[in-house]
């Protein structure tokens, strides 16, 4: 089981450093921030003060009472763009995580279920993908597919499913030997029924926790691709591409700071939320 667990991420290591007695309050704060971002993702574009695409304000004005985060090189309101960007980044991150979980789970279940050469082939493919540095492989794929948000998600999917496949496979393998699975088979369950009734419901919890841990990273990966010009195209208000545009005007500190803070809070809140969820689901896991 342990061998299949992906390397512990930086933020999970940070989480372990938080004293246990304040982990749950920290998790609650993370939950509130994550929830706020999800709410903004839904209602954001309709509550922003300015049209995120309208180039009507003075250029490069610093943060003020009328324009909280300042304006960018084309006279667009940065606050409106950051809030509107939540919908793009977070919804795509959720889409990416859902897709990775589905693809990885299907591959993991098939490998664990059929075993033998099917397992061998699928796990070697998984290992090959895992062996590549994530961001590089995603960049290469996105570059090959052509720059667009959809292609960025596709490229990110190609590097994001293997951890799910590994974990789901190991869960299936250990559950296959569980007594209640054997007793279901003895009552005449076919292998498919046994999977559906006895195995899958019991791997759903850990898999969902893993997915919730992954949302922040998915947002980071997608923003990273956009930052490199491999995702969202101007004038789409996407955080990564906004930071990318800010690089040439680095003396205008507000251009990069606010989209950067948005990415930071999303990544940290979703990661800590995931860690808190995992602790809640499996209190033992945090102590190893």
């Amino acid at each position: 089981m342990d061998a299949a667990r992906p390397k512990r991420r930086l933020l999970s290591r940070v989480w372990r450093k938080i004293p246990p007695e304040i982990r749950m309050p920290v998790g609650a704060v993370a939950f509130v921030i994550a929830l706020a971002w999800v709410v903004l993702c839904v209602v954001g574009p309709s509550i922003v003060p300015y049209d995120p695409l309208a180039q009507t304000l003075p250029r490069f004005s610093p943060p003020s009472s009328t324009s909280w985060f300042g304006t960018d090189e084309l006279g667009r309101d940065l606050f409106s763009r950051v809030i509107a960007g939540a919908r793009i980044t977070i919804s795509l991150a959720l889409l990416l995580v859902t897709a990775s979980m589905l693809v990885g789970s299907i591959i993991g279940v098939v490998a664990g279920f059929f075993g033998r050469w099917v397992d061998e082939v699928l796990m070697r493919v998984t290992d090959v993908v895992l062996a590549f540095p994530t961001v590089i492989l995603a960049m290469v794929t996105a570059a090959a597919l052509g720059a667009s948000l959809f292609n960025a998600v596709l490229a990110a999917l190609i590097v994001s499913w293997p951890p799910y496949a590994r974990v789901v496979r190991s869960l299936v393998l250990s559950l296959r030997e569980a007594d209640f699975v054997s007793s279901g088979r003895l009552l005449g369950f076919s292998a498919v029924r046994s999977m559906r009734v006895d195995v899958l419901p019991n791997i759903a919890g850990p898999t969902l926790v893993m997915a919730s841990l992954d949302i922040g990273n998915a947002a980071l990966l997608l923003s990273g691709l956009s930052f490199l010009g491999l995702g969202a195209k101007p004038p789409t208000p996407e955080w990564g591409s906004m930071i990318s545009a800010a690089v040439v005007n680095f003396d205008k500190w507000w251009l990069g700071l606010f989209p950067g803070l948005a990415i930071l809070t999303v990544v940290i809140s979703f990661n800590f939320l995931g860690d808190a969820l995992r602790d809640a689901f499996d209190p033992e896991a945090g102590r190893v």
Binding site: D179, F180, S183, R185, G188, V197, P201
Partner: protein
């Protein structure tokens, strides 16, 4: 004596390794309807392996299992052959014998469904055992005296549980309760043979006797045979008619339980009996066998 319902014929199981480990070494025995066979031996002597082979969960490397005259085929990707759901098993670990994500009602219902699939709409043409059950069910006048329960509620009552428990999840039950639920599930499938693979070993002493009694009495009341596996001879003796003693993959002694208890012939059986503590107030510790002691692997003659 009646036809055996389940026979092990010269069963051999090897576990891969260097060299391979022979877990079960040419074991043969029979289980007859209404008979409780106790299988005892120390950990690692091949008892649980034997149980898995008998049910078809594990393919033997030699020999075969015959159930009602037909060989038991190992479990494949498809469902088990319809008629072999007549062999059921209760497992050792109460923590994993039930699916933690399902309410216990549907889990017992699985057993009833298996019985319905195998015995059809309960017609008498399925052989003498089915005929008996049909006769049983045809007497509503005696609902609770040996007739087979036909609903989840009846089964829960039969194993001494509250019918309201059907909607609860396994985590809300104790180990002993879970083993009784697992027993209800297995027996609801109307098995001809029930195999208990150390079903009481992880329960505390006060619950052991209850669960063992519930299992054996309900099994025998259905006219089914039973194989009760344990490392605890003192409990097995109380419910078993016949005893098999296994040592290093072989049956080293077999015979009526009372006779073996009174007059063990094989040195290993004698050591097992000496190791049972006696609560006689004399404060004697059971005999300790020095580590590394080996015994002959030949079966003792009675």
């Amino acid at each position: 004596m009646s036809e055996p319902v389940l026979c092990a014929e010269d069963v051999v199981v090897d576990y891969p390794g260097h060299p391979p480990v022979r877990a079960v070494d040419h074991v043969s025995f029979e289980i007859h309807p209404g008979e409780v066979v106790g299988l005892v031996g120390e950990s690692g002597c091949g008892k649980s392996t034997m149980a898995r082979v008998l049910t078809g969960l594990l393919k033997p490397d030699g020999g075969r299992i015959v159930y009602r005259g037909r060989p038991v085929l190992p479990l494949g990707l498809g469902g088990r052959a319809k008629d072999s759901t007549g062999i059921q098993m209760v497992f050792q670990d109460p923590g994993s014998s039930l699916n933690p994500r399902r309410r216990i009602g549907p889990q017992i219902q699985d057993g009833l469904d298996a019985a319905r699939r195998r015995l059809g709409p309960l017609s008498a043409s399925d052989g003498p055992l089915a005929a008996e059950r049909v006769a049983d069910l045809a007497h509503p006048s005696r609902p609770d005296t040996g007739s087979r329960p036909t609903t989840v509620t009846q089964w829960l009552e039969r194993v001494g549980m509250d019918p309201k428990d059907a909607t609860r999840f396994p985590r809300s039950f104790s180990g002993g309760q879970r083993q009784r639920i697992a027993t209800a599930r297995a027996l609801a499938a109307a098995p001809d043979v029930l195999i208990g693979d150390e079903p009481i070993s992880s329960l505390d002493a006060s619950t052991q006797a209850l669960v063992a009694y519930v299992m054996s009495s309900l099994t025998v009341a259905q006219g089914a045979g039973m194989l009760f596996i344990s490392h605890d001879l003192s409990v097995v003796r109380l419910i078993a008619d016949t005893l098999l003693v296994m040592y290093q993959g072989r049956v080293v002694e077999r015979g009526p339980a009372d006779e073996i208890w009174a007059d063990p012939r094989h040195p290993y059986t004698q050591a097992l009996l000496r190791a049972i503590p006696t609560p006689d107030g004399a404060r004697r510790l059971p005999a300790v066998t020095p580590p590394g002691t080996t015994y002959p692997r030949e079966e003792a003659q009675r």
